[in-house]
């Protein structure tokens, strides 16, 4: 599939890659330069492949509180929440951002690879509720402006007063050059930034507006290293149908105190003991610890597995996220990564690797 910005990417000389069935820009030039542009300045992303599912109706809040693991009733109108949809066993079907558009209207943003699964799972879970679940993924275009200068750029087109009021993880309906948009202060890079939702017919006008402002387009390669440095999980890597939010270190987004939700009893049971947990890894070598590589202890015994790895442009070193067996004593254990037979010393560090200055 092609996003509504396909021709724009070709015109900008993008190298395309298949991502969840979509032809997406991998990079437009150097992926390292694109990464650093977002950290230092601002960059523009096409995220039109992502899933947009609208939930509305009188039972919307009650329904999402049953279907998702967080307490959606605590999300105020105009706010957003990072959450997950889990199976009854507590495994992650997808990680989501839920935007509360009105008292009884929500936008659920799902990963491109899971948009259909989330949409049908929500529909399936909605039978006993007065709600409608509508998948508008293919009608919706999405671009993101990310980086410390994002607010300067967006303020040229949206009243700076409105931008000042739009705090992190907030959203509002407004317009840009007369085009109605949903503007959200959210992202997946660890930087300040904005996500702009509009119809597929209008998204190219907004993209071109920012390209004309000399904003650098950023591909998926840099998006991956940006989110990795920010310690953000990627579905299919840190999250999948054999991993719970507890393993991923995201217990804080589970609202155990709300009444029943799908996955609750399994997650309650699990929260007492887990066999592995998500950790950050820094390596001495510049070699990349890629997904699937084993973590080994001093005697060469496998004690974990890498889920994502990259050379971090911001830190200037090789970093990774990995699942490490919980019985490893980090105070004494010497962990290495087996990189194609090279046993490369690693240290376990707290996530995220990178945090922006406030």
């Amino acid at each position: 599939m092609r996003t509504p910005l396909h021709e724009n990417h070709l015109a900008l000389g993008a190298q395309l890659t298949d991502f969840a069935g979509w032809q997406m820009p991998l990079k437009y030039g150097s992926e390292t330069t694109e990464h650093c542009t977002v950290r230092r300045d601002v960059g523009l992303f096409d995220l039109s492949h992502m899933g947009e599912i609208y939930v509305s109706g009188t039972h919307s809040t009650k329904f999402l509180n049953y279907a998702l693991i967080s307490d959606i009733s605590k999300v105020k109108v105009g706010k957003a929440k990072y959450t997950m949809i889990c199976t009854a066993d507590g495994d992650v079907i997808d990680d989501l951002v839920v935007y509360r558009l009105a008292d009884d209207e929500y936008l659920v943003v799902a990963n491109a690879s899971n948009a259909q699964v989330v949409s049908s799972e929500l529909t399936h879970r909605s039978h006993d509720f007065t709600v409608s679940v509508i998948d508008r993924s293919l009608e919706t275009g999405l671009v993101a402006l990310q980086g410390p200068q994002a607010k300067v750029v967006i303020s040229k087109f949206v009243s700076p007063n409105l931008i000042a009021e739009l705090k992190n993880y907030s959203c509002m309906q407004t317009e840009i050059i007369g085009i109605p948009i949903l503007l959200a202060r959210t992202g997946y890079t660890g930087e300040d930034g904005f996500e702009i939702f509009t119809s597929v017919d209008q998204i190219a006008r907004i993209w071109e507006l920012f390209i004309d402002e000399k904003i650098a387009p950023i591909g998926l390669a840099a998006r991956d290293t940006l989110r990795l440095e920010a310690g953000m999980p990627l579905y299919g890597h840190e999250l999948n149908l054999e991993i719970t939010p507890i393993h991923a270190g995201l217990s804080r987004i589970i609202a155990f105190d709300k009444s029943d939700f799908i996955g609750k009893s399994a997650l309650l049971k699990l929260s007492e003991q887990i066999d592995r947990k998500l950790v950050g890894i820094e390596l001495e070598t510049r070699r990349i610890a890629r997904a699937g590589f084993n973590l080994v202890d001093e005697s060469g015994i496998v004690v974990g597995q890498v889920t994502s790895g990259a050379f971090s442009p911001s830190l200037g070193k090789s970093i990774a996220m990995a699942y490490l067996n919980s019985n490893i004593d980090l105070a004494t254990a010497k962990i290495s990564v087996d990189i194609r037979g090279n046993v490369e010393p690693a240290i376990v560090v707290n996530l995220p690797f990178y945090r922006r200055e406030e």
């Binding site: 990079k27 150097s30 070699r287 050379f311 090789s318």
Partner: protein, 123 residues
């Protein structure tokens, strides 16, 4: 179309070499550097070690993938580019200049391509 320097020789594995003196200077071509993506790690043969034309003698790892480095000539390694090892971005920025990789005292040449033949291969 990407043009290749005419004063160099090439291999089918996208290495270039300069044999104007008795020592061959070896690097990878711009075409190879672009195809790899940003190089983040380089493993070069040790100084004093012998390399054999057509055999693997090192590694280049980019953000995207790992590639073997082949020796374009047979001989003894006399110098390696430590600056490129410490800052592999040089290989992408200036593959025919500051991003050279190693120098070999030539015992025998392997199967080399002229600039014209290499240009034809990548076109």
């Amino acid at each position: 179309m990407m043009s290749v320097p005419t004063n160099l020789n090439y291999t089918a594995e996208h290495e270039w070499l300069d044999t104007t003196s008795g020592t061959a200077t070896v690097g990878i071509t711009l075409y190879a550097a672009d195809a790899l993506g940003d190089v983040v790690f380089v493993k070069l043969p040790d100084i004093g070690s012998s390399v054999t034309a057509g055999q693997v003698c090192g590694e280049l790892e980019s953000t995207k993938s790992l590639s073997d480095l082949y020796a374009p000539v047979t001989g003894k390694v006399v110098e390696t580019n430590l600056a490129a090892v410490e800052n592999p971005a040089m290989i992408n920025q200036d593959p025919y200049g500051a991003g050279w990789l190693f120098k070999v005292e030539i015992a025998s040449l392997g199967s080399l391509l002229t600039a014209q033949e290499y240009q034809a291969q990548i076109s």
